[in-house]
Symmetry: C2
Subunit: 191 residues, 2 copies
Amino acid sequence: MSKLSRKEEIKNCAARLFRKKGFAATSVRDIAKEMGMEAPSLYNHISSKQEILDELLLEIGEAFVEGMDQIRTAPISSIQKLERLVGLHVSLTIEHTDAISLIPSEYVHLEGKAEQQYFKLREQYEKELRKIFRACIKEKAINEVNVDLAMFSMLSSLRWLYSWYSKNKKINSIALEQEMIKNLIDGIRVN
Amino acid sequence: MSKLSRKEEIKNCAARLFRKKGFAATSVRDIAKEMGMEAPSLYNHISSKQEILDELLLEIGEAFVEGMDQIRTAPISSIQKLERLVGLHVSLTIEHTDAISLIPSEYVHLEGKAEQQYFKLREQYEKELRKIFRACIKEKAINEVNVDLAMFSMLSSLRWLYSWYSKNKKINSIALEQEMIKNLIDGIRVN
DNA sequence: GTCTATAAGTCGATAGAC
DNA sequence: GTCTATCGACTTATAGAC
């Protein structure tokens, strides 16, 4: 683990607070207190509170798109891609638990250019995921489901995995991936 | 549809705004503006901004617990209870889309007594759901999954259904229920 | 039941000393 | 790079006229 810059420390600290109370309800003074300094001192490292949220969400968004790109170009079947995608969510959840937690709710506080970039990343990700789902159906690997609904349903579970993981950190990354593949792709009903 | 009291109008209005910007980022002035009145006038109908959130979340929480109670005491198999539970989420999502949207993220802004009541309702609901899952396993209707993880995974999808539904309102309630049962219980993989 | 005026506090951010 | 002091805007909520 490389030494964190002061700015990275602040961002990690802020991510933890944003997760707990939300971006809007977390003050710059709260972040400073958690860092053990006075609020104005933060501004030697950041330019605004908004910048912290922007960078946290864009970095995690880029990580998802990069992961998706590797999966997209891998020489494997579509259903294997879908399984690897579950693994991507599990890995990023374990590595960036606090930042991941901001995705479902705090993106609404993005503004201007950062907001545009974020939505672009999200669209890109969802577009590729939709392609994988359609290919799975074409290859008769998954049933003829309503693609958007099934995709949204799967993403919802994966986006909230951080919540379960925070209370169950002892689980092995690979075991968690396997269990989620069973839950989300195979289903739970005995057949 | 019965005529709404002024307070109910305000709560519906606030729910829509809380959903869009979050509770903390929505000001009393925002709510007043949406209602076509000045901010202080709201206080003839409500006692505080906090009260609005408290009531919105407690009412929807009570609706879930009541629905769960009917399912719990119904003379049906455990797996049928699980399926009816999906239906309960679908129904409440369609009837109270905005209020439902507050559950995943805005509960963190509850305080004091309302916070306690809300957590009590949530625990009650999750406890009953856990029982249903365990009974399903015992009856060999679902596989021997990690109960908490499978339960959380299912709930995450159901809690975020409002988001998909908002963009796809034309779907039939029963069709949506059937599709979600397939996604969440049967799985999507061809077998 | 709605308004204007305003209290009392918090917000993000800056100026400038050290 | 950290601090104290502070600005100006915004916050929830109340007082009191109509």
